[in-house]
């Protein structure tokens, strides 16, 4: 019997087909990965009684309709906010106009002085969203930097690294010393 040769399939159009698919995926998909500032909203509580907070424990940030910041009664640029917030939260020199401290037990640290800081944020209805995010970002950065410094001092690793390797106990201890307390007031028409 004669040996029948199988003809070779022409693969020349393979590239065209693949290109077609490639173009399809390029058009229909997006590359945006979802990053964002994670926040937790407070639940609605009826007849809420806010506990009184002493003035020295409060870091008020007001943003008006012209995107100007008033921090503790002083005009401030967004770029200065981070350091001001850091100094307020940690109160390293125990100044009397910065938050008071309370001694509590923290695992890994023993008895530690923890400041009773609260950051209060209030914005106008006409404040731009960009400014709001920048303020939120700077405040979060202040907390993160302090936490990183503390973690580096105590454990030889930054806070971010601790979170990454999933060391929950140490993360919790650091959070106990620098708890993120940002309170947002209902917006008012500030400065109008």
């Amino acid at each position: 019997m004669a040996k029948r040769e199988i003809p070779e399939i022409n693969a020349g159009s393979m590239a065209d087909i693949a290109f077609l698919l490639l173009v399809f995926f390029l058009v229909t998909t997006t590359m945006d990965s979802d990053f964002g500032l994670m926040r937790k909203l407070p639940p609605i509580v009826e007849d809420m009684k806010t506990p009184p907070v002493r003035k020295r424990n409060l870091f008020t940030v007001l943003a008006n309709k012209d995107d100007e910041l008033l921090v503790k009664g002083k005009l401030m640029e967004v770029s200065e906010l981070r350091n001001a917030a850091k100094e307020f939260i940690a109160n390293p020199k125990n100044k009397i106009d910065l938050p008071e401290k309370k001694e509590i037990d923290v695992p890994f640290f023993g008895r530690t002085m923890v400041s009773k800081q609260v950051i209060s944020l209030q914005n106008d209805n006409a404040t731009s969203y960009n400014l709001y995010i920048q303020v939120q970002n700077e405040l979060a950065a202040a907390y993160n930097e302090l936490r990183n410094e503390l973690a580096m001092q105590q454990f030889g690793k930054t806070y971010d690294q601790l979170v990454e390797i999933g060391d929950r106990d140490r993360v919790k201890a650091i959070r106990k010393i620098y708890p993120q307390r940002i309170s947002e007031a209902e917006p008012r028409n500030v400065g109008r």
Binding site: A11, G12, M14, A15, I17, A18, F19, L21, L22, F25, L26, T28, T29, T30, M31, D32, S33, D34, F35, G36, L37, M38, R39, K40, L41, P42, P43, I44, N123, D124, N125, A126, T127, S128, Y129, N130, Y132, I133, Q134, Q136, N137, A140, A141, N144, E186, P187
Partner: protein
């Protein structure tokens, strides 16, 4: 005469294109893996702000998106900030209902993990964002994420 004289033309040999499909397939797989299917057609301008202290949204199945911005087609939809859910414009009061609807598709242990991602244009005024946040508080959708682009830390 000469034994070594080649007969025929002395043109350049054609470049082999047989590996072209492989290259293109490689590109194709790269794009298939790194990108996601576009879910909604944005009818608003959506230029989110930049931030450094960001976290990645982990479970995309448990995220519902709310887009806020100025309509692209100003003539038809006006030039004030609007909220877009899926493919339609909605009013602030309808946001809660949408969240409830998303919840019905989830199982009990997944409910507290549901995150609402607010994709808000950076030029928008805070008024509408605050209203949406109040609406989310009413339906107990407390986990939110302000969508931002990544900016490198200095």
């Amino acid at each position: 005469m000469s034994k070594f004289k080649k007969n025929g033309k002395k043109g350049l040999p054609a470049v082999s294109t047989s590996s072209l499909p492989d290259i293109v397939f490689m590109l194709l797989f790269f794009f298939m893996v790194t990108t996601v299917m576009r879910e909604v057609d944005l009818k608003i301008m959506n230029d989110v702000p930049e931030a450094t202290e960001i976290q990645k949204l982990e479970n995309k199945a448990l995220v519902s998106y709310i887009y806020i911005g100025v309509p692209i087609d100003i003539k038809r939809h006006g030039n004030s900030a609007r909220i877009q859910l899926n493919d339609a414009f909605v009013e602030v009061s309808e946001v809660g209902g949408h969240i409830e609807e998303t919840r019905t598709n989830l199982s009990e242990p997944e409910l507290p993990l549901l995150t609402t991602s607010l994709k808000v244009d950076q030029k928008i005024e805070m008024g509408i964002v605050t209203e949406v946040k109040q609406e989310l508080r009413k339906v107990q959708a407390l986990k939110i994420s302000y969508a931002t682009r990544e900016r490198l830390r200095k």
